[in-house]
Symmetry: C2
Subunit: 248 residues, 2 copies
């Protein structure tokens, strides 16, 4: 049976990343886009509860929603698609989603929501400041989608995929990685307004990553596609046992 | 030596939760508030990089910042406080932060940022729709802060604390819990605009939790304070081994 594929993102329905992804997903199955009407990477990842949402059918199988990536996944699964999708694919994000940054990512959020709703899901991002090799990421999205459709994914677990911004033949392969760890520099520049008030501007620092060949960041830096299995359960069970032994 | 305590939240510097927390933290150490100038639970958790930020000293040891909870923690640690704090306490949030919802919580985000910057951190939330027993949560915040100051916390791990909204003498005790699992109902109501356009309004469904005596939600529902150790590393290591065995 032809698989039903839900494609979404946080850069908005018109972004080059989702269009490239959609074209390739149409070859894998019956693909639908349900995505935010505009860039929503700066909005909350939560559900929009304080106002009604509208879904507009822009063209065949393509819907835009005036809400968050999470809203899109919820409305797609409960209202827009005729049945539960076989897979949710979120991306292709314009920029990497590595290490602790995934906590803040709208792209990863949508895959989290898919996972919560028991649909195997993955997020795919193209690493780089102004990346443009979307065709490379879309090709790997196809491979990974086929893999998931044939094997599914463990309970409560999504895949976070990051693709280096280069031609496909320059990519060395796929590495299964663990979530990396950014060493925060958080350079802050002190600046003054025309009226002489002091302001702080965060950013401009160098980005460092903890070394480790098994890390997501290391794979991408070394021309590999990074695939990290992400678990929704963030409980630290070792710490849990320890806290029970040494009560508060 | 008197410990240095950073207090922040996502409900804003004027919220009753942070004021109650601050009063009790002043008894534990040298406490500072650095918190958003207004309610920021609907803004992104990420750092604000696209504009400069301003920190205003409202009164002794109390600063407001026109940014996110994460911005507040970064500016406090790198600029506003004279040295690195011994603990970051985020809250008291107006409403619970349980299960998968912690991914979306600004309150928990601030504790995550503290943890990333290697300061032992915890988030504290008062469960209930319109909770008002902030003095109960503040009392438990004091106990937990003293515990952490005497023992620290495991690497990359914060505590997520939820307090039932009741008088302290009604609370049965503290339970160390794992992150619960919401069973999403996501009821959606179809409504129509005055012009006849169809809209969807998410919400109004019942909230269910997976059963399990060790879950955060179960503790709070049964009049216990829930304390969950949360790990920043979300890698599912079992799935990682499995993916290496069955390559994509």
């Amino acid at each position: 049976m032809t698989p039903l594929i839900l494609v979404t993102n946080d850069d908005g329905v018109h972004s080059p990343g989702i269009i490239a992804l959609f074209e390739d997903m149409k070859k894998v199955g019956n693909a639908y886009i349900v995505a935010p009407d505009r860039e929503r990477s700066a909005v909350s990842h939560a559900l929009t509860l304080h106002r009604p949402l509208k879904a507009d059918e822009l063209r065949e199988n393509v819907f835009s929603v005036n809400g968050t990536p999470t809203d899109c996944v919820v409305l797609a699964i409960h209202r827009i698609l005729s049945k539960k999708p076989d897979i949710v694919v979120s991306g292709i994000n314009m920029g990497a989603n590595l290490g602790d940054d995934i906590t803040y990512s709208g792209t990863v959020s949508a895959a989290i929501e898919g996972t919560i709703l028991n649909v195997p899901s993955f997020a795919i991002s193209l690493a780089g400041d102004k990346p443009f090799h979307y065709e490379t990421a879309a090709a790997f999205a196809t491979e990974i989608a086929k893999y998931i459709l044939s094997r599914s994914l463990p309970y409560d677990t999504l895949l976070n995929v990051n693709v280096p911004d280069m031609a496909k033949n320059e990519i060395k392969g796929i590495k299964i990685t663990k979530q990396g760890k950014r060493i925060y520099d958080n350079a802050i520049r002190d600046i003054y307004s025309p009226r002489g008030d002091k302001y702080y501007w965060i950013g401009g620092g160098e980005l460092y990553w903890e070394r480790g060949e098994d890390m997501d960041s290391h794979a991408v830096q070394n021309s590999y596609v990074s695939v990290t299995p992400i678990h929704l359960d963030m409980t630290n069970y070792e710490a849990l046992s320890d806290l029970i032994k040494h009560p508060i």
